[in-house]
């Protein structure tokens, strides 16, 4: 886990880190990924991967419509709104 990787991951996560933080995170994340490397050493050749802690197969619903939020409710937490739309800073310059 080098500083370059930390910068990349921070950018993907939209985190602004200064140089000191990047150095600190590189050290901390290296410990975590080091632990994962340790787990990787275990032989799991005959164990099916577990992607889910329980086996609740086929937990689907039927195609039935239920009431939605009102328009006012939908945007009520938005920092900015305009005529029922969420408003965000310009995406395209």
């Amino acid at each position: 886990m080098d500083e370059h990787t930390v910068r990349h991951v921070a950018k993907l996560a939209r985190l602004e880190l200064d140089e000191a933080e990047i150095r600190r995170m590189a050290g901390e994340l290296a410990k975590i990924t080091g632990y994962i490397e340790q787990l990787r050493a275990v032989n799991v050749e005959h164990v099916a991967p577990t992607v889910h802690p329980f086996f609740d197969l086929n937990a689907w619903r039927e195609d039935v419509v239920k009431p939605s939020f009102s328009r006012a409710e939908a945007v009520s937490n938005a920092p900015e709104q305009e005529e029922g739309f969420f408003k965000v800073p310009p995406v395209i310059e």
């Binding site: 993907l12 419509v65 408003k87």
Partner: protein
Amino acid sequence: MATATTVDFEAVIGLETHVQLKTRSKMFCSCKVEFGAPANSLTCPVCLGLPGALPVVNRQAIEFGIRVGLALNCQIAHSIRFHRKNYFYPDLPKGYQITQHDTPLCFDGVLELPVRDATGNPRVCRVTRAHLEEDAGKSIHLEGGTLVDLNRAGTPLVEIVSAPDLRNAEEAHAYLTTLKRNLSYLGVSELSMEKGSLRCDANVSIRPVGESRFGTKVEVKNMNSFKSVANAINFEIQRQKRILRAGGTLHQETRLWDEDKLETRSMRSKEEANDYRYFPEPDLAPFEIGRGWIDEVRRSLPELPEKRLLRYLDDFKLARAEADYLVTERELGDFFEATVKLYDQPRKIAAWISGELTHALSERNASLADLKLEPARLVELISLVEARKLNNITAKEVFHAMLGTSDSPEQVARRMGKLIEASGAAEDPAVAAAIAEVIAEFNDKAVKDFLEGKEAALKFLVGQCMRKLKGKVDPKELPPLIEKAARG
């Protein structure tokens, strides 16, 4: 040794097609799926991505996905799961899209294209996979900000990924029309590029002929019709050739098609290069798709166009082009068969459908349903021609005039003054007057030739009379009347 300027290139094209499924409710929540509803009127904690909200899969979306897979001749997976695809964009409230990664619902399909290769065999394009995912919301980009409507967020989609088997714009176009044709039989999507229920991106690269490795791939987006997909591919192939021939290099990038300027341009995005950090969706357990379910869906499918085409060729003895055309849309074939049931003249009916009906559909940019044409009315119209109450020309006029109305062809024909009434031409003074005029006008030549037994002269005189009568008479009734008048 060939230099870069003289090398011949071939294009390698793969298409990614997104199809919105017309389930009643969304993929992972119970909000209604509807196009054109007021902004943000169809949202809930799940599709707004509010903390703690949990997705639950819509079973119908899986079933529609299976239908799509079967119509593309795919294998259906027995076990599927969902993944998170992480990226930030304002129309993606959760910060990730729930999609499928390593276990697509459908895979290894194939489409036979209505295009032949150099040896005369039909070209084939493999369908690598078709998987389920959710749609994002819609952004409206304005001067001082972007407005976001999340009604569409969470709408079920099938993403269909073709293999890079296509070699030019024509093949890409043929792939899309075949794909749309097959899916139109399923009733699982509106398939409207205009309304965004069918969207297509193209991956285009070129390589020297004979090279087996792929060149640098460019993804082209923002096409709003099959024609613009073809145009964008053609433009992109030429652009890439120009750059390579000039000794330049290509960059892997996403480019947007500009429909006004008819060119692609680089999408300079602030987004990080594709690094989606896929991982299994922890909020959804895996799904087992039983053999029984797949068989049940297979049995519920309508006859698909590939099979229907063969039946039309064999049972109805249609010409290949006519049969091809009749299976392009399920509605056309259904209409054809319903009409044939009433009137056992398949070739005559097919000619009406591929001729005048198609003409009307494209002229009015309408669907068959819009025209309000019932099979019985077409049969009635054909019967009027058989009974010589209309001729081939006036029948076409009546056909177009009756579309969009609920009047019978006979009513329309009478209103238009085109109907040849039972009294017949013999008693019609207008007919007698027209014949007299024509005989006077052509007395020297054509009438003389006719009386000498020249067949062509009679045809000419009939034609002249028809012109004066503006087609309002059955031409078959004229010869005896002309002869009588000529012999005077």
